[in-house]
């Protein structure tokens, strides 16, 4: 809501800043008008700065919680991946379709992290269109609906309000495992948290039962056939939880950065406008003085 309201103001602000020398050189009548306009713009930019600063503070406090959740969930995910690493499981290169689960969220105002995911998907679609999409979160849905609506099989909303819970992840995993199509492999796409300013769209593999039984080191484990689907479902939920929590932490940190940049841009602009305002006011006063003095001199002569 903020961005849309703010953009015209920013545009108007830059336009006015570019037109500054003209404004100063203009006649006095014009200066009276611009003075009030500048004052109005200053006021609105100050309000925007206040809003972005508050949002930055909110994001910072949420970020610490999100990062803690991320570290915990990473343990979950990596422990459950450990089995597959030991068994040397590889995704099957079959004829069957692949399924990709994209973990974004419902909220924007956090820079380009959602479009990073969408771009990755679009690049994959151009190479090989043989996969279906499950999309978590409204933002990526809105972006991918335009480019590839036919690939989407499921979409989830309501993600990103709070730190994701395991209940979220397991409910999604349930719904995904109920899909009618057989997929040769399932991959979870999420934003990997590298540091506070950089993220990278990354895949986690969630293997199908066939892939697990065909893994080279599978004999090292004693697994009954009946428990195998359970393992698959549970590890899908684990991977989803990891991806959701890490994606959430990335989003909060990206939002914090975006809001910080917006605040500093706003304060830059406030500085510029303040100078412009002072100069214009000075010009108006000087102009008035000149008028009074010349008027007085003229009447003294007469």
């Amino acid at each position: 809501m903020l961005s849309r309201a703010a953009r015209p103001v920013f545009k108007a602000g830059t336009a006015a800043a570019a037109a500054r020398p003209v404004a100063i050189g203009a006649t006095n009548a014009a200066n009276y008008a611009t003075l009030r306009e500048i004052e109005g713009r200053l006021k609105s930019i100050r309000n925007i700065e206040k809003i972005t600063k508050t949002m930055k503070i909110v994001a910072s406090t949420k970020l610490t919680r999100a990062q803690r959740a991320m570290n915990e969930s990473r343990n979950y995910g990596q422990t459950s991946q450990e089995v597959y690493e030991q068994a040397e499981t590889k995704p099957l290169e079959g004829e069957n379709k692949k399924l990709i689960i994209v973990c974004s969220s419902d909220k924007g105002l956090c820079g380009g992290i959602h479009s990073g995911l969408s771009r990755k998907i679009r690049a994959l679609l151009q190479q090989n269109a043989n996969f279906d999409l499950v999309i978590l979160g409204e933002k990526c849905k809105a972006q991918l609906v335009r480019s590839s609506p036919k690939s989407i099989v499921l979409s989830f909303a309501g993600i990103g309000k709070d730190v994701p819970t395991f209940a979220d992840a397991s409910a999604i995993a349930d719904q995904v495992s109920l899909l009618p199509t057989e997929y040769s492999s399932v991959q979870v796409l999420y934003n990997k948290f590298i540091n506070a300013t950089s993220y990278e769209p990354t895949f986690i593999d969630a293997f199908s039962e066939d892939a697990i039984t065909q893994s080279p080191n599978f004999a090292a484990y004693e697994i009954e056939d009946e428990t195998l689907p359970n393992l698959r479902e549970y590890s899908l939920a684990n991977s989803l939880y990891w991806a959701l929590a890490e994606g959430h932490a990335c989003e909060q940190s990206a939002r914090r950065n975006a809001m910080e940049n917006a605040s500093s841009n706003a304060s830059d602009m406030i500085g510029k406008f303040q100078i412009l305002y002072n100069r214009t006011r000075q010009a108006v006063i000087t102009g008035e003085l000149v008028e009074i003095i010349t008027g007085a001199a003229a009447s003294a002569d007469a």
Binding site: P149, I152, L154, F156, T165, S170, A171, D174, E224, N230
Partner: protein, 73 residues
Amino acid sequence: MAFAWKAAGLTYNRYLAVAARVVRRSLKEDKRIAAERRGEMELRFAKWENGKQGENRSLAKANEASVAEHSSS
């Protein structure tokens, strides 16, 4: 069949969720409120066909419905 819950049409995750809910509910009052917040889920989902979004439905209700459907069959 080795698992009674599987015969009843539950998936493993559903079985886990039910078990977790039981554990949470048996906690003491002060701990229980914090723990139950971790079990909340308010997702909505929609099925897509041929590039058209279907109806937005609550995920929790849909999961319960699918369990009911499997158990009756």
